[in-house]
Symmetry: C2
Subunit: 256 residues, 2 copies
């Protein structure tokens, strides 16, 4: 079983949370792959450089200067610090953007009502599972940032959740794969105010009932829809949980 | 024959020179490895961020903030832009720092008269030739920036010429290897004012004579001494030439 784990800002932005996560992830058994977002550092660095950070619907509009900033922060600083820390913890890792080994090919998002700039969506079959297989076979843990490439020399800022899903689908062509999204909550909650109300399992049937009953809050719907798409793509199950509960049986498991 | 090529600021700092180099390097036959320096961008970014760049004897003093800047610029922006451009030119590449796959282990420089901060010198046998071999076997061209790691989670800024030499010595354990330093001059010149005065070949014997005659200028001596050390380490020959003459028979070849 290959485990693909995605972490975001709530881990990246805290040195303590990162240290804890690195130790736990290194202890995770079996072949594994890490995908990380960028956290707030790109916004902070942009501000220091006088570049305005423009977000539309939670997505960063990426002009040329902003692309350089996110490439520096995500593919450079965050990725290499994680790789160095993981290797020191005994998990020999290799940091990758989508450009490396043509690992992830994306398509620049067409300009519609909004021009997101240098933002890419992963191409169908855009992740090279042969590269993942050869790295895993060599005993290496791939660590992906969410910068991809259009195959024609242009880097593209990409949604890290989408990278995680696409990498998990590609990994599932090698071996059974589970995908873990580390989240700020303990899982999908029946009551968003109550961390003890984690829904242990969601299936297509129970999801329909939960939606009909208005139990799941709107922000979770795209995450769960994405999880089902990954499962349709061959991933065995998707788990949503807190990063600091990585090694425990916790969170919400989504499966068919 | 594996070819290891090192480029520095005179390529990196010019988009035109980079584009030309990428096309030429992609056209180079046989397995190959690229090592790049960082150019002036790190100094420029430091200035924008209000971080003072302190150079002593041509080496950058690397405090914590400066380490973050060079990691962003070298391992992030410059490395990924090169990898994306090379892949677009048909040379499937994988960008690496020394932390990735524990590729290059270094030792933090001891504090003597000068504290260089987060600066590392490559450990004896610090380059993993098994990793180079498996990447080359997979048809990938490794592209190294000059950020290494101490194996305990700390990234270290490292001299790019030293990285190139150490990588070439490690590659020579896989197959015969030549090391090419791209330089601002056409090679080692008899007359530093005359680009036509390239010394075609330097051997230990001719080097002794050239030194005794005061023909080679002082700045070149460390480069040539380094070349002979690489040859002592198993590298077949070292070539010093201009980047835009990469594919031509030109420059100075140093051999035993």
């Amino acid at each position: 079983m290959i485990t693909v784990v995605k972490i975001g800002g709530n881990v990246i932005d805290s040195p303590e949370a990162t240290a804890r996560f690195v130790a736990d992830f290194a202890a995770l058994e079996g072949p594994k792959i890490l995908i990380h977002g960028g956290g707030k550092l790109a916004t902070r660095l942009s501000a220091q450089l006088g570049i305005e950070s423009l977000m539309i619907d939670g997505r960063r509009v990426t002009d040329r200067q902003t692309l350089d900033v996110v490439t520096m922060v995500y593919a450079g600083l965050v990725n290499k610090q994680l790789v160095a820390a993981l290797s020191a913890a005994g998990c020999r890792s290799i940091g990758l953007s989508g450009a490396d080994g043509d690992a992830i090919t994306s398509v620049r998002r067409a300009v519609g009502e909004v021009d997101y700039g240098y933002v890419g969506d992963i191409a169908p079959d855009g992740v090279r599972s042969d590269l993942l297989a050869s790295l895993l076979d060599a005993g290496l843990t791939p660590v992906f940032c969410a910068i991809t490439c259009d195959g024609h020399g242009t880097l593209l800022n990409t949604n890290a959740d989408s990278v995680a899903s696409a990498v998990a689908v590609a990994a599932a062509r090698i071996a059974p794969t589970r995908l873990v999204f580390c989240f700020e909550k303990r899982g999908v909650l029946r009551d968003v105010e109550d961390e003890a109300s984690v829904i242990a399992e969601i299936t297509p049937e129970s999801y329909a009932a939960l939606r009909a009953g208005g139990v799941i809050n709107k922000g979770m719907l795209p995450k769960i829809d994405g999880a089902f798409r990954a499962i349709d793509g061959g991933v065995s199950c998707v788990v949503i949980k807190r990063a600091d509960e990585l090694l425990s049986e916790s969170g919400t498991t989504i499966r068919k």
